[in-house]
Amino acid sequence: MNRKLKNTIEMIGVYSVFGFMSILILYPLLWAFGMSLNEGTSLYSSSIIPENWSLAHYQWLFTDPNSNYVNWYRNSMIVSGSNAVLSVIMTSLVAYAFSRYKFVGRKAGLYTFLILQMFPAMMAMVALYILLNLIGLLDTLSGLILIYVGGQIPFNAWLVKGYLDTIPRELDESARIDGAGHLTVFVKIILPLAKPILAVVALFNFMTPLFDFLLPSIILHSQKNYTIALGLFNFINDQFSNNFTRFAAGAMLIAIPVSIIYLFLQKYLISGLTSGGTKG
């Protein structure tokens, strides 16, 4: 009896912790969602459960001539998509070399990657700004993509190399004996087996630019070229209280699809990180 009572009390404790956390987590999100459905643009008169439901803000984002929202969305997709594709190509080539070949500078290269990982790209933001200005890539999406693709190499090359190291060498050796060349081994054997980690790399590199605020804010200057994070920030930053409901609508349109994708894929993300990440 005593034991059962203790058990019940403990479970009540656990569930109340979960309940409390759920409120902390859901309240801000539901609040913003509610705001996006309010009719007016002022936060003073808005409430989490709107008196007059309306999709006016969503409509405004897509139809009003002053709204660049569609542009931002498209820019973000271009940057994220190109970054994901280019990063996978670049990283898998480099990781394959580091995992399978002996060459001059291999060890030095690995250490360089490790050290470069520690320096965030933003440490060089002064330089990136000035350099891109020199070569005329300031305020262009290609400049932004270039920086992302280059900056991800050190971390992801380690991640993928760690994974490739776990693929048995006998596989590519026996293919070589059968007469397969370097490229054939890479495309026909290594790439198919490395699919899980490459998917993680693709997802990471799709998400990073989508969420990033700093780099776009350094590189992109005209409203038309903004990515979605930058656009939404400047959107509400001008006149916070007047635009928050619109911001909330714009934020929901990006947050809901991304959250659903993340919740589905989080298991793979975590296992990708722990398998490659902890090993180096």
Partner: protein
């Protein structure tokens, strides 16, 4: 050379490795010609000639530029010259590496020839060359990109820290000068800089330690609770608990910024004022409360990743451990302390360290929440600015490029010292080192 005699039996005692080496030092490829590797030799010679013709002027200009930073204002642009100089140095380093390899190659092959080895025919040489250089084809695109988007900017930022580049002294109107450690000196001696630096620095440390530790503690606590076998609807609770990770960070931060707003935020309007009366808390205009709010926001944002990570590890701990401990009569706390905690921390140590370094540079939260504000008297950074957001402001708001670069350099040194120190202590790094 075990396999050398297989090709031919002729031992060529007259062939001199030292001569081959000397020839290759004089001009790349000559040693290879002496070794009768004509294809390789001519390729090397062509490469060196091409290098000299196309790049020597540029390198000359670059080296002159990086030393003087220009001599005539308006005509000479110090920033261009600095960049040319850095590119020249990088090119020289690669050229030197190539030259060294050329000399080594000449010496090695001359030795082999002396011992009776004979070069393969043209077709085989080409195939061998392809086999050996394939790996460079793989790495070169990545290497070039890395040099121009990461290494060069970092070197450039480091160099800027030793110049006097700011709003009032900017090219092409003015020339920059090398000023040595002047920027670092003013950071420590000029009162405005010193006050700002120390207050920003100490807040950065507090922020990093407290926010990250909260994240980890909360993540661990919830992971242990959710792993309890008696809990029902596990999947449901897990999904909710992980939600803050799934929502894009900038969206959540901006939502919180609105919620904490002094005037119209829901926290003051719907929670603080109805419960405690008064006129609410100045969340965004009092540095102390902004800091509290920031710590709360970062914990909210950061714990789900730790939670997901730990949940995975907890499930992988074998039940036998706990059963054995129960047989020995261990209490729940003892089981947690001696089995769960070591397992979890051991498996995730590098990722936890990365959490600390990420928060050290967590620009997004600080800047998006309140732009590092509120402003504070007697310093040129806001009350919640961390080093990285201060650098951002110095660069883009006041154009104080040199000082920004100097502070960036300090950040970089701190981060790498910390990371190297920690990585050496974790075992996973040692395992990697053995390969």
């Amino acid at each position: 050379m075990v396999d050398a005699p297989l090709r031919t039996g002729n031992i060529n005692k007259k062939h001199n490795p030292k001569l081959a080496m000397l020839l290759s030092i004089i001009f790349a490829g000559l040693g290879q010609l002496y070794n009768k590797r004509y294809l390789k030799g001519f390729t090397f010679i062509l490469l060196e000639i091409a290098f000299i013709i196309t790049l020597i002027d540029f390198i000359g200009l670059g080296l002159w530029g990086i030393i003087t930073l220009g001599t005539i204002p308006i005509t000479d642009h110090s920033i261009f010259l600095l960049v040319y100089g850095l590119i020249s140095i990088i090119i020289i380093l690669f050229a030197a590496l190539f030259y060294l390899l050329n000399i080594q190659d000449a010496k090695k092959q001359a030795k082999q020839i002396k011992e009776g080895w004979e070069a393969p025919g043209l077709f085989d040489s080409v195939k061998e060359g392809y086999d050996k250089s394939f790996v460079y084809l793989l790495t070169t695109p990545g290497l070039i990109l890395l040099v121009f988007t990461v290494v060069l900017p970092l070197l450039f930022a480091v160099s800027l820290a030793f110049t006097n580049y700011d709003l009032y002294n900017s090219p092409p109107r003015n020339l920059l000068d090398w000023v040595g450690f002047e920027n670092f000196k003013s950071l420590l001696t000029v009162p405005l800089w010193r006050n700002t630096f120390f207050s920003v620095f100490s807040w950065t440390i507090v922020w990093t330690l407290v926010a990250t530790s909260f994240q980890i503690a909360l993540g661990l606590f919830l992971a242990v609770l959710a792993n309890d076998s008696r809990v029902k609807f596990k999947k449901f609770f897990r999904t909710i608990l992980i939600l803050p990770w799934a929502v894009p960070g900038f969206v959540s931060i901006l939502i919180f910024a609105a919620m904490f707003n002094d005037d119209f935020g829901t926290i003051n309007r719907d929670i603080i004022i109805p419960l405690f009366g008064g006129s609410g808390i100045n969340w965004l205009s009092d540095p102390f409360y902004t800091r509290i709010a920031l710590l709360f926001v970062q914990t909210w944002l950061g714990y789900p990743f730790i939670f997901a990570l730990f949940s995975g590890v907890l499930q992988s701990i074998s039940k036998d451990w706990y059963e054995a401990a129960e047989v020995d009569g261990a209490t729940r706390w003892q089981k947690f302390k001696n089995i769960t905690l070591p397992h979890v921390l051991f498996a995730t140590a590098p990722l936890l360290i990365i959490q600390y370094t990420t928060n050290f540079n967590n620009f997004n939260v600080i800047y998006l929440f309140n732009e590092g504000g509120p402003a504070v008297k007697g310093q040129n950074a806001g009350g919640t600015d961390i080093l990285i957001s201060w650098v951002y402001k110095l660069t883009f708001e006041t154009n104080n490029f040199s000082m920004a670069a100097a502070i960036s350099l300090i950040i970089g040194i701190l981060i790498s010292l910390f990371a190297i120190f920690q990585f050496r202590k974790t075992s996973s790094f040692k395992e990697e080192g053995q390969i």
